[in-house]
């Protein structure tokens, strides 16, 4: 087991009240496994991963629960210890490649900086390694690319540079926060291919966040669906897509227009919009939008329960 998160809660004190961004999230990740995390914006995907990385710097945040990396508790670890893990054992890829790199340094410099932060090697050695890494993420001309500034690269190439950086220390765990959302589908296809390949060569476990069901279904071994700060369904890729159980998962899958075959005259849409975390509905957070909502849903909050394929819904528990 690489990562084991138990009952993680992250909340922020704001002027409007307490925002419970993450409210009791638990999951496990095995070696070289890809876990897909799907959810709409604001469902808490980024915050949960930042918590894992120890990157929540907001002084108004409070983090509870347990995050164990290879058996070692990360919550409450001194910053110095965390820093030794970050970028070395655990690496992260961010959503927007346009802004994820420091604009005033070359990408070679930035990747070498990370290598030298964790390994005691010479600048020349680090640069040689950078060239290898850029070749590995399919830069057509890695040597020349090293001396490029971020603004001189396209979005896809920048994301490749960020991935090369993330891989520079052979991380056991790679955390990717919507790495392809800002990219074109053609470029996304290349990046997804790369992630698959790297999982095979580097044996890294991957947590891959996205809001695109299609992307998860192509990449993930196991999937976790989030809604309003909680996990509403989890299961293996096959379980989740061939037998979606939670009404939200079902509705979300149903509202995606098909790419082949007959076009429906109208799309089966989910009414309303995701709730504000400041004013969560009573009981099940999906209640007001749920097509099969009934009395118990207002009185209690459904638990995810145990088992590999589980859904946090009273209807499912009942069945």
């Amino acid at each position: 087991m690489i990562l084991s998160v138990r009952d993680l809660k992250v909340s922020f004190r704001t002027n409007d009240g307490l925002v419970r961004a993450i409210d009791g999230v638990s999951f496990d990740l095995e070696e070289s496994e890809i876990l897909g995390v799907v959810g709409e914006s604001g469902s808490g995907k980024t915050v949960s991963l930042l918590a894992v990385m120890g990157l929540i710097t907001d002084p108004n945040a409070s983090i509870e629960g347990s995050i164990r990396y290879k058996g070692r508790e990360l919550v409450g670890l001194p910053p110095r210890e965390l820093r030794r893990l970050r970028g070395n054992e655990i690496a992260m890829i961010f959503q927007d490649p346009m802004t994820a790199l420091t604009p005033v340094y070359t990408i070679g410099w930035q990747i070498a900086e990370q290598i030298r932060a964790h390994q005691n090697i010479s600048k020349a050695k680090a640069m040689a390694r950078v060239e290898e890494l850029l070749a590995e993420v399919n830069f057509p001309n890695p040597h020349e690319a090293m001396s490029r500034y971020p603004h001189q690269l396209s979005g896809g190439m920048r994301q490749r540079a960020v991935i090369a950086m993330a891989l520079s220390c052979n991380p056991a765990l790679l955390v990717a926060d919507e790495p392809t959302t800002a990219l074109d589908v053609t470029v996304q296809a290349g990046i997804l291919d790369l992630v698959r390949k790297l999982r095979a060569t580097h044996k890294s476990a991957v947590v891959f966040i996205t809001h695109d069901m299609g992307v998860v279904s192509e990449l993930a071994d196991r999937v976790m669906v989030m809604y309003a700060g909680r996990v509403v369904e989890r299961g293996s890729r096959m379980e989740l897509f061939s037998d979606p159980r939670h009404p939200y998962t079902r509705a979300l899958l149903g509202s995606i227009p098909p790419l082949t075959g007959e076009k429906p005259r109208r799309l089966p849409a989910i009414p309303g919009s995701p709730p504000s975390l400041l004013r969560l509905p009573q009981g099940c957070a999906f209640g007001p939008r749920c097509p099969v909502h009934y009395e118990p849903c207002v009185t209690g909050r459904p638990d995810l329960g145990i088992g590999t394929h589980a859904a946090a819904c009273f209807r499912v528990a009942q069945a």
């Binding site: 709409e40 053609t186 296809a189 698959r196 096959m238 897509f241 509202s255 098909p258």
Partner: protein, 326 residues
């Protein structure tokens, strides 16, 4: 009814100059839209797809004359409006409307949404304030907002509701043609379907013609009757939406469509997929011959030198490739 063209372009082009004569590389020209001939018929929805930077937004803005047109002609209901002045365009503005991607950026945050929707009515119409209020209420109902929402400010709405306000504004003057530039791209997945349905309902009720841009290809397929695939400023394939998706003829369309991730329950990686190598070339230095040749998996020598024209190879299907899959 669907046969009379409402909007037509003939070899339309849009060039931007960047830099000045004095800058290091001198004055350069971006050919953002190049030689586009497109016919839009009344009541249909033409979807524009292509990678970012291929000129979709620029073409859209040319079509409603938000941009001046550099080359070619633009015809609205058969009338040449390529070089009409702003004042000559005023009566047409009412009939050609545009909806933008970011609903919050196009709405003034300091004004009530009722006011925002009433604005075009005040500018163009000759209605009394009572008639305007009635029309605003009617529009709110049409786009699925509640009557008491008129007093709210944009920030009090969710993204989906803001986009409804944007749509209400666009249809306030009973336009004939609405250009929608990525209207659902900024919205949550669960909300996108609502807006797509709303657009379909409005089209039916108000007999609207749409030009629809989105980077989500499945959304474009759902919405559009016809599709034009753009690459580096030009149309490379055009045809009925379902047909283009099912049997695309241009290697670029094939790669684009195969790259869309779809939910599948078969073991992963089984779907055939064409992964393009290399980046989209800069429109400042477009490749010779077929613009797609540096990335095309089946390019041959001829593609390097000879630029394929967009030709109708079957009624309703056009492609710009020397070796189309037909």
């Amino acid at each position: 009814m669907t046969d009379s063209p409402i909007l037509e372009t003939r070899s339309l082009g849009k060039r931007f100059s960047i830099g000045t004569r004095f800058s290091a590389e001198g004055k350069r020209t971006v050919h953002a839209v190049d030689n586009v001939s497109l016919t839009v018929r009344r009541g249909e929805t033409v979807g524009l797809v292509g990678e970012s930077g291929c000129g979709k937004s620029t073409l859209a803005r040319c079509l409603v004359r938000l941009y001046d047109i550099s080359d070619g002609e633009l015809l609205f209901e058969g009338e040449d409006i390529t070089s009409k002045s702003l004042s000559e365009l005023r009566p047409l503005r009412r009939r050609l409307q545009m909806v933008f991607q970011d609903p919050s950026a196009s709405l003034n945050p300091r004004r009530r949404v009722g006011d925002l929707v009433a604005e075009p009515l005040r500018i163009h119409g000759k209605l009394s304030s009572r008639e305007i209020a009635a029309r605003v209420a009617e529009l709110f109902e049409l786009v699925g907002l509640l009557p008491d929402h008129v007093m709210r400010y944009p920030h009090e709405f969710s993204g989906g509701q803001r986009q409804r306000v944007g749509i209400a504004r666009a249809i306030a003057l009973n336009p004939d043609l609405v250009v929608l530039d990525e209207p659902v791209s900024a919205l949550d997945v669960s909300v996108q379907a609502q807006i797509v349905n709303l657009l379909a309902d409005l089209q039916e009720k108000l007999n609207l013609t749409y030009i629809f841009i989105a980077h989500d290809l499945s959304v474009v397929r759902q919405v559009s009757t016809r599709i034009a695939v753009m690459y580096l400023g030009s149309i490379v394939e055009e045809g009925p939406a379902e047909e283009v998706f099912a049997t695309s003829a241009h290697p670029y369309s094939q790669a684009l469509i195969s790259a869309v991730p779809v939910v599948e329950t078969t073991p992963s990686g089984t779907r055939k997929r064409i992964i393009l190598t290399g980046d989209v070339p800069s429109p400042l230095k477009p490749p010779s011959g077929c613009r797609f040749h540096p990335r095309c998996p089946i390019a041959v020598e001829r593609c390097r030198t000879e630029r394929p024209e967009l030709k109708e190879y079957r009624p309703g299907r056009k492609v710009a490739c020397h070796f189309p899959t037909v």
